[in-house]
Amino acid sequence: MLLFILQRFGPRQWGDIPELTSEKRSILLHTVTDDGTLGTEEVNVEFHPEDKVHSGWSLFGRATTVIGAGTGMKGNGGPVEEGRIGARGGVGDDAVETMADGDSEGLETDETNLSPRDTARGEGEEQSSLDQARDAYQRARDDIIKAHNLVLKIYWAETWRIREWEIMTYAWTLGKTDKFIRGHVPEVKYARDFDRYSTRHIRDFLNLQDDKQAGTRTLRLVVMNRLRPIHDLRGEQLWDAFWECFACRCFLRGLTTIH
């Protein structure tokens, strides 16, 4: 009986989302206005599945996937050159910008008790080749960001939570007058909820909903400016950027209420 039911499933019943097919590579989203609402205007956002920023495929949770995107027009008005980003870095199926926390394997170097002075000793040559690889990486990243200056975040958001673009827009607004926020929060540009894929439908059908709809998720797409992972930085640059994040007044908003 189960097989009989399953064979009647079309691609859509199997979870295929036609708006996000890799052949189409573009999707209509709404502009996020200054007050954090979605405008009626639709913008065509090009996305690039081969340019993975973060891949969190999962049957559970938010299953967040982040890929490179653009509005199809570069600063000079010309179209984005397809395939250009592969010229240096070679964006392939397994090319992910960074590995998620917990995915990395153990340190490949000696693990004995060594002091920092010991660590520094004999690292000269190794450091030189590391620096070269790092420079090449930075150049490749620059090329990618130049070609796809936005990211498209696709995830299954809990509907009881505040929409991410609302909180980000508020933070961005605070940044207009607060130098500790300005430049230290991402800029959200376009977004859309695809409620027809919401888990609300099946939960309603199976009578699983409670009053708070706490278990309901919806497919949410958010487009933001493209950022770089902080671990790309080193030394003083890393130190400064880290404490800028720490000090971000958006995060410390409570301080503004107690003067």
Binding site: D101, E111, E244, F251, L252, G254, L255, T256
Partner: protein, 240 residues
């Protein structure tokens, strides 16, 4: 106990001092109208390059954030387990410990400790992050062991594993920062052990003041700039 430790434990004990009048909001410095990130992890700390070419830290990913302006009835726990605050880890996922500023601030410290210790290999446009095996339990489900390892991390930091040469400059500073937060955790544990059942008031300013005072008693590389920054943050006028 070092001078800095005495200072910060004193400050934090003062923060936790039971209110003499529970009805009065004067003793209850609520963190209202605040955006609470709730998920400080390595992946959520980013940077962008300003038009002037400066790398600027960006706090990313607000899908788990909460905003007092839109309270929810769901008392969920959020965060990335490897960088979760000791108190939250001790409570386990089933306990609903109120989310406080100090929890997120502590997560920042664990991220920094990890960030300074990892090594990165570059391959084309992608990177591979390798961590010392010492950190592996952070990524497992044994929260108590994770907690235990973190509480002794300052003693082992840079000794049980190597810190990459280009970050060794900050080794001692990070070690001291970990000590600071572990001693803060001890202060809270002592209060609980003494039978305090008072609901803790969230006090980001008190936490930062404690950190600033503690930094002031230290002369480690990099701390002077941090102290100046945090002082500015505390003294800046209300925005909206």
């Amino acid at each position: 106990m070092r001078f800095g430790s005495v200072l910060h434990v004193g400050v934090f004990c003062a923060v936790l001092r039971p209110s003499t009048n529970k009805v009065s909001s004067g003793h209850y410095r609520l963190w209202i109208n605040g955006i609470h990130h709730g998920d400080i992890s390595l992946n959520n700390l980013m940077y962008s390059v300003s038009p002037a070419g400066k790398a600027e830290g960006v706090l990313n990913d607000y899908d788990l954030a909460s905003w007092d302006k839109f309270p929810t009835t769901n008392g969920d726990r959020t965060g990335t387990v490897p960088f979760m605050a000791l108190e939250l880890l001790r409570g386990g996922l089933e306990q609903r410990i109120p989310r406080l500023y100090r929890h997120d601030a502590e997560s920042f410290v664990w991220v920094l400790a990890y960030l300074i210790a990892i090594t990165i290999e570059y391959k084309g446009h992608s990177v591979k992050i390798s961590r010392p095996p010492y950190f592996n339990p952070w990524f497992r489900d044994d929260f108590r062991f994770n907690c235990m390892l973190k509480r002794s991390l300052d003693k082992n930091y840079g000794r049980e594993f190597r810190i990459p040469g280009y970050h060794s400059l900050y080794l001692t500073t990070v070690r001291k920062l970990i000590t600071h937060w572990v001693e803060l955790d001890n202060a809270f544990l002592d209060l609980k052990a003494a039978g305090s059942t008072e609901l803790e008031t969230d006090d980001p300013k008190g936490i930062l003041e404690g950190l600033i005072k503690w930094i002031g008693a230290d002369s480690q590389k990099g701390f002077a700039k941090v102290q100046t920054l945090l002082l500015e943050v505390i003294e800046a006028p209300k925005v909206m």
